[in-house]
């Protein structure tokens, strides 16, 4: 039995079932949708047990990896069990301890880094020279500086958007619309790319199994 061809046929039939929704809702689409959700759930449970829980917790605790058991792993193990306490209303409060640890670790780790990466570095990036950079450099830098300032003015609500403030806010919303337009264009490209990927699969992987070579 050729498992590769069976896999290709399964993928192709399920793809067509899912695309059939574009015509209208139908039992084939529902079947494929439910199959996808069910299989995904099962797949992730097993994947996490063998690729996360076993190597990072069980093997460390029992010493299956390097031969030396690490009994400190009991602590995260207990916290992991606390997360499951949400399923039992009487002891659901225990899960807050585990969540507090996760939130605390995340905040401590990324608070300063996020500020540095996404705020300070970006501010630094908008402080640009307007002289000694040539004509095109001047225009480029001016657009960035004016665009950032006007964009920020649009979100300044303590003063009515009238007069100079209104004009700056108007320029700001124009800049924002250009940015949204660019994002929309990229989103369209991404969606079409996914369609192209599936089309290539159907045309160049599935059809040849029926002797049709394009």
């Amino acid at each position: 039995m050729n498992w590769e061809i069976i896999g290709i046929w399964l993928g192709a039939v399920l793809t067509l079932m899912l695309y059939s929704f574009l015509y209208r809702d139908n039992p084939f689409y529902k079947f494929a949708e439910h199959l996808f959700v069910g299989m995904s759930a099962g797949y992730w449970v097993i994947y996490n047990i063998f690729n996360v829980l076993k190597p990072n917790f069980w093997d460390e605790l029992t010493g299956a990896g390097d031969g030396s058991p690490d009994y400190f792993m009991i602590i995260p193990g207990v916290f992991g069990l606390f997360m499951l306490a949400r399923l039992v209303p009487k002891i659901a409060g225990l899960s807050r301890m585990a969540l507090a640890m996760i939130v605390g670790t995340g905040a401590g780790l990324s608070l300063v880094s996020t500020l540095q990466t996404n705020c300070l570095s970006q501010i630094e990036g908008t402080i640009m020279p307007l002289s000694g950079v040539g004509t095109m450099g001047f225009i480029d830098n001016l657009i960035v500086v004016v665009g950032v300032v006007c964009g920020l003015v649009y979100f300044f609500f303590s003063k009515p958007h009238e007069g100079i403030t209104g004009k700056a806010a108007g320029a700001g919303i124009t800049i924002l619309m250009v940015a949204f337009g660019a994002s929309f264009g990229y989103t369209v490209m991404a969606r079409i790319s996914l369609l192209i990927g599936q089309a290539q699969f159907l045309l160049f992987d599935w059809l040849p199994t029926m002797g049709i070579h394009l």
Binding site: L109, M189, I192, L194, L195, I196, A199, L214
Partner: protein, 286 residues
């Protein structure tokens, strides 16, 4: 004219779907190909950075995606791997997304075998690690602590490629192929800004605008955005190699361009139709 526009205004959405499908399937079936000119830009910057590194440099490639975004990111992975191997660089693959570990193995094995590169000497796949930012910070002091063994269970210390690689500071370049979070953002934040490593990347087109800000500030040295970025890179890798295969992304660009033209046509017709009908109804009682 107005009647035609009114009809277009009420066109069944399934007609639009059909035209979109035709705009993708027909060019692919006919194997149309458009030239892909690659000018200055983030794709070229990443290519030049890899080109400028001395042979034997160690590049860490993080496969932070899963099969749902394969059409965009796997061609990048293949083209980048081809380029790095032909330049004599060594690759350490890892993944912050569970299924990235399998996709990296697929790309590394295919390209490595075709170019005669040996696993453990020229490349290694460390597999998946949970924890994203936490793991990257830990790798800053010890990669072995995060990956005591590779994806196949081979101990870290017995892998020849890793004998001189103790921490992120021994890596020459980090490349994250990212479909979301965790991905480029975590690498820029932890490896780039915290440890000062040069970071490049490839991402889905949806998330490309988000990362352009990192290019402007120099936090990233190059970026491949979506299928176009992958096709750009394939084109650059093929420059000077007339008989080289077209790659995975390049054949899709004709379909991509025609589909974009169809969408643009819909947008223009939709707006004209809206304006004409709206103008006529302006005086009508509400």
């Amino acid at each position: 004219m107005r009647k035609i526009l009114e009809k277009l205004d009420r066109v069944d959405r399934r007609v639009i779907y059909l035209l979109m499908a035709l705009s993708v399937f027909v060019p692919l079936s006919l194997r149309l190909s458009y030239p892909i000119p690659v000018g200055e830009g983030p794709s070229r910057d990443l290519f030049d950075a890899i080109e400028a590194m001395p042979s034997g440099s160690v590049v860490l490639v993080s496969y932070d995606y899963d099969p749902s975004t394969m059409p965009e990111l796997q061609p990048m992975a293949v083209a980048l791997t081809q380029h790095m191997f032909t330049r004599g660089h060594r690759i350490i693959a890892m993944a912050l997304w569970p299924q990235g570990a399998s996709l990296s193995q697929e790309a590394m094995t295919a390209v490595g075998d075709s170019l005669g590169k040996a696993q453990y000497d020229d490349w290694v796949n460390l597999g998946y690690t949970v924890g994203a930012g936490v793991s990257i910070v830990r790798m800053g002091s010890s990669i072995r602590a995060v990956f005591p063994q590779d994806r196949d269970g081979f101990p870290y210390d017995s892998i020849p490629l890793l004998t001189r690689v103790q921490s992120l500071r021994d890596i020459d370049l980090v490349i994250s192929l990212s479909a979301g979070d965790p991905g480029i953002h975590a690498w820029v934040m932890m490896a780039g800004d915290r440890f000062g490593l040069p970071v490049g990347g490839g991402c889905t087109a949806v998330s490309a605008p988000e990362f352009y800000t990192y290019l402007g500030t120099g936090q990233m040295l190059g970026l491949l955005g979506g299928l176009k970025g992958a096709a750009d890179y394939e084109t650059m890798v093929r420059e000077g190699r007339e008989n080289a295969p077209a790659g995975l992304a390049t054949p899709g660009m004709a379909a991509q361009s025609i589909a974009h033209l169809v969408i643009m046509a819909f947008i223009i017709i939709g707006n004209i139709s809206y304006l004409v009908i709206h103008k006529r109804r302006k005086g009508a009682p509400k």
